[in-house]
């Protein structure tokens, strides 16, 4: 194995956005809604094209987004959102891809066959938000007990503050 030094040059975000726009057009996945927030690129694509988009971002020669920083879900009450934060080691590019998901019928294609590390990220989102990842090989609870029937990170789930009193077992009396 050889040691690889990566290129740590500063990145011009506008250039990356225009490059991404071209790539999106050439593949025909979706146009994408780009925005810059605190120096980070956010891009909204439709949920039908999310798998193809990420596959393209990973395999494209100019982009090479080969690393998942984070996948997470957000509950905006009217709709849910899945955010994929990708990073490219070779180019030092970062991008956050977002997909809007219907709250009534939450499902999206799994990207486990594109990225191996998506496995646990998606399992976690499934159990905390109830978003069904179609094509995930092993969709079962990860952090919560196996018999839960709620999704704790949805805004509709409220933390209940219960006061529990210690009941002395009868054995000691």
């Amino acid at each position: 194995m050889e040691i690889k030094q990566y290129n740590f040059k500063a990145v011009d975000n506008d250039k990356v956005i225009s490059l991404l726009r071209d790539k999106f057009k050439s593949v025909g996945t979706s146009e994408g809604n780009f925005s810059l927030n605190h120096g980070q690129i956010y891009c909204e694509v439709s949920k039908e094209t999310i798998k193809n988009t990420i596959k393209m971002l990973k395999n494209d020669k100019d982009l090479k987004f080969d690393y998942i920083k984070c996948i997470t879900g957000v509950d905006y009450q009217k709709y849910l959102e899945v955010v994929y934060s990708l990073y490219s080691f070779d180019n030092n590019y970062s991008v956050n891809i977002k997909a809007r998901i219907d709250a009534a019928n939450p499902d999206v294609d799994s990207i486990t066959d594109v990225f191996w590390s998506a496995d646990w990220f998606e399992r976690e989102i499934w159990e905390f938000f109830g978003i069904n990842f179609k094509g995930h090989p092993n969709l079962k609870t990860l952090l919560l007990p196996g018999d839960v029937d709620y999704h704790p990170l949805l805004k509709s789930f409220e933390i209940k503050w219960e006061k529990r009193e210690y009941v002395r077992p009868k054995v000691f009396e």
């Binding site: 194995m1 980070q40 956010y42 957000v74 080691f89 590390s117 646990w120 933390i159």
Partner: protein
């Protein structure tokens, strides 16, 4: 008697003939490991399928330490939530606070005074030394040597005393605030830290002499649990685990925060991606941390230790994903703010979570006796996996 032996031989041949590559043998053994086994570093359980001593498949089961920290964050103000961040990776608490504070500060577009930045770097690097010292001790236990444990913890004790001088706590500090640090550096900290670093460098050389070149240790760890660079990236591995596989990658260098680019230091890197390389990377990282602390102490600027911040912290609506180099790898905070004093969503990305995700892949075709070493080389902390 002779017939029986003959029969046995035939049976064995038949069994091995039935198995095709990629298929489990018919007589594999399933064992349960943990959640309270001492070599799992916390409450971690897995079910392993074994063929003799060889591991065929591993199913990690986590969640025994789940405290719902991400949900609690949505019901707390930004300041109230900060102490809980310490409890994620409790061996490197300062580095978690670092990530959280920087993320919120960037949302607020808040400038942190130079002095606070330097103090933060000193804290983070001291804590990195502490965390790697724990790793060093645990690694010794993993291969059956008890001395490194005592040596490592003896050194760590003094570093923790230094941080106690600053923060008043030994393990979970709550020292960083949004906009700086809670207190200024106390009298005597400068001299004591310098003295500690001098001793520490001497000790580190001794550790290398004692343990790194030890023939038994080298033979147990070289060529075990090999991860290639491509696979490490594919599995979202980070920190010393990724660097052990030959990637010169450190977030402190790539996306420098808090003035890390001002200091002169190197990124230690491995070559073979095995357990021994991951061990060496961590050991060499301690020396680099000492280097950074020395420079930061030398050039500690004058000024405030905290920026002027409103009492109620209300970042403007927006979102950010910010990552820092924790002790185990990339610690990331995805914060969504809706303009109120409570975060709308707080996702915490921890390195150990991803390292355990890859456990099945790494452990496959290794021997069960090597499991503690391989898991130990990731230096997982269950508090940060389960959150």
């Amino acid at each position: 008697m002779a017939d029986e032996i003959k029969n046995n031989e035939i049976e064995v041949d038949e069994i091995s003939a039935v198995n095709e590559p990629g298929e489990f043998p018919k007589d594999y053994m399933e064992i349960n490991f943990g959640p309270h086994h001492p070599s799992t570093h916390g409450v971690f359980r897995f079910i392993a399928k074994l063929d003799g001593e060889k591991i065929l498949e591993v199913e990690p089961i986590v969640g025994y330490l789940h405290r719902g920290i991400e949900k609690i964050a949505e019901n707390r103000t930004y300041v109230q939530f900060k102490p809980l961040v310490d409890r994620l990776d409790y061996t490197g608490a300062m580095n978690n606070e670092f990530g959280y504070c920087i993320a919120v500060e960037k949302l607020m577009e808040l400038e942190v005074p130079l002095k606070a930045q330097a103090i933060r770097v000193i804290c983070a690097e001291l804590n990195r030394i502490c965390a790697h010292e724990v790793f060093f001790g645990a690694m010794g236990l993993e291969v059956g040597a008890f001395t490194p444990f005592l040596f490592g913890f003896k050194d760590r004790e003094i570093a923790m005393h230094l941080m106690e001088m600053l923060a008043g706590g030994r393990l979970t500090f709550n020292y960083f605030t949004i906009g700086g640090v809670r207190q200024d550096v106390p009298k005597g900290f400068y001299a004591e830290t310098k003295e500690y670093l001098k001793k520490f460098k001497k000790n580190l050389a001794e550790y290398h002499e004692l343990f790194s070149g030890n023939e038994i240790f080298v033979k147990r760890t070289k060529g075990v649990g090999v991860i290639t660079r491509e696979d490490a990236i594919e599995w979202s591995m980070s920190g010393p685990t990724l660097r052990g596989s030959g990637a010169v990658f450190d977030i402190r260098k790539v996306e420098p925060y808090s003035g890390y680019d001002k200091y002169d230091w190197e990124v230690p890197v491995g070559k073979n991606g095995d357990v021994y390389d991951r061990y060496l990377v961590r050991m060499n990282e301690m020396a680099q941390s000492a280097r950074i602390i020395e420079q930061a102490l030398e050039s500690l600027p004058e000024g405030d230790h905290q920026a002027k911040v409103a009492r109620v912290i209300k970042p403007p609506a927006g979102e950010i994903y910010l990552r820092v180099e924790g002790t185990k790898g990339e610690v990331g905070f995805y914060v969504v703010s809706d303009g109120t004093d409570k975060p709308y969503r707080m996702k915490i990305r921890t390195p150990s979570f991803n390292h355990l995700n890859a456990l099945n892949y790494v452990l496959k075709n290794n021997y069960i006796a090597d499991f503690p070493i391989i898991l130990g080389s990731f230096d997982t902390v269950m508090g940060s996996v389960d959150r």
